[in-house]
């Protein structure tokens, strides 16, 4: 019997970030321009499996996706029981920068979704010369909270069930059922309080709108791509963000929600490929 292995490989490594050791799970496939993929709040890098398995992309890009600490197959740090998980702007930037350094990535493209789409704005502002380009999927520079985060972590409500039920509102109705539920399954598997801790960054700590005009898109081009049905990072919020980041390019993806790469990979590809082609032609 021949096994038809998927092309990505997964490995673990220990990352020292901010004086804390994290056991990180990372997948990659392809060769060429580094394309570092950042998953959404409360999920993990499995969201990028279609990108990692697409030869049209991996023929030109070294696609890399890792699980943030506390997520997926990356561990929380030693002693995690002693504190509640809470993602901060500084901690998030540090982890991404340390991963880039550990992997010795040269001129990487960073493609982050949701909170990953927010942090790329912070990274582009602070170190535009290092990054080749940023792709902010479902990434507005400011959001308004609309439910009490305490519902996500309490003993009388199942964390996995409520997380999936909350974010199911952000999947487009016409996305294939198979991928809708795969996307939601990732949310069902999150650790206690982890989605809530990510949303601390996404809703409370990571606002960026006042600094958006300072981003130099000539040094680091920014592409904003948001789904029509995203009720969190709505098309309107994306367009407002684009208006603040001079020179950014914005795409509203019809028929897609908050999870383009995992909820409707085929449709997402039609929007992503022209942008990746453009990025591939940017001089390093």
């Amino acid at each position: 019997m021949t096994i038809d292995f998927e092309p990505m490989t997964g490995r673990y490594f220990t990352l020292n970030s901010g004086g804390i050791e994290y056991r990180i799970y990372i997948e990659e496939a392809g060769s060429g321009i580094p394309l570092l993929c950042l998953h959404t709040a409360g999920s993990d890098a499995r969201q990028f499996r279609h990108i990692l398995a697409d030869p049209d992309i991996t023929g030109r890009f070294r696609v890399i996706a890792f699980d943030l600490p506390w997520h997926g197959k990356s561990n929380p740090p030693k002693g995690f029981r002693d504190s509640d998980y809470k993602l901060t702007v500084d901690g998030y930037k540090q982890i991404i920068s340390d991963v880039c350094f550990a992997l010795d990535l040269q001129s990487p493209v960073v493609m982050g979704c949701s909170m990953g789409g927010r942090i790329v704005c912070h990274l582009a502002l602070e170190n535009p010369a290092y990054f080749r380009a940023m792709v902010a999927l479902e990434g507005a520079d400011k959001l308004e909270p609309y439910y009490d985060l305490e519902w996500l972590h309490r003993p009388d409500v199942h964390g996995g069930e409520i997380q999936a039920a909350f974010v199911s509102s952000q999947v487009a109705p016409a996305s294939p059922n198979e991928y809708r539920w795969e996307t939601l399954w990732h949310y069902m598997q999150g650790g206690p309080g982890v989605f809530k801790g990510d949303l601390h960054f996404y809703w409370l700590d990571g606002d960026f709108d006042e600094r958006s005009p300072q981003i130099n898109t000539k040094a680091c081009p920014i592409y904003l791509m948001s789904g029509e049905y995203d009720c969190s990072c709505t098309p309107e919020r994306t367009l407002e963000t684009a208006s603040r980041i001079k020179g950014s390019k914005v795409t509203i993806m019809q028929g897609i929600g908050h999870f383009p790469m995992s909820e409707n990979p085929a449709l997402f590809k039609t929007y992503l490929m022209p942008i990746l082609s453009e990025i591939a032609n940017i001089p390093a």
């Binding site: 519902w151 409520i162 999936a164 039920a165 909350f166 049905y229």
Partner: protein, 125 residues
């Protein structure tokens, strides 16, 4: 009509199973009309129009008739496609004790979405 929610929910064994811990009455507001929806172990046992001021449910979910009509389209437009997309846009409103709703959120979304237009339906919510 709203009665079809009861027929469709009770005919869906998996949905009833997912709601097996739910026994309560909640209020669904469609414009000016309030309906009390009684559930026992995931099955809808009663749907009746509110007729006394003291009639109420554990929690309520309200939206205008036009908004529910959009929510119940076969492919709803954005902002109307899910109750938790309608809430931040202030298209829908929830009140009351929310524990049971949150403990069974996907179940409640799904029983309300059972009113969604299916092949052969007339548009008479």
């Amino acid at each position: 009509m709203i009665d079809k929610m009861q027929t469709r929910v009770n005919a869906d064994a998996r949905l009833v199973h997912r709601g097996r811990w739910v026994t309560l009455t909640f209020l669904l507001g469609i414009g000016n009309d309030d309906y009390l929806i009684g559930i026992v172990a995931g099955k809808i046992t009663t749907i009746r129009r509110r007729h006394l001021a003291t009639d109420t449910g554990e929690f309520s979910i309200r939206a205008s008739a036009k908004s529910w009509a959009k929510h119940w389209q076969a492919v709803p437009p954005r902002d109307y496609h899910d109750i938790f997309a309608m809430l931040p846009k202030q298209i829908a409103k929830i009140d009351g004790r929310l524990e049971s709703l949150m403990q069974n959120l996907q179940y409640f979304k799904d029983i309300i979405a059972k009113m969604r237009t299916e092949e052969g339906d007339t548009n008479d919510h």
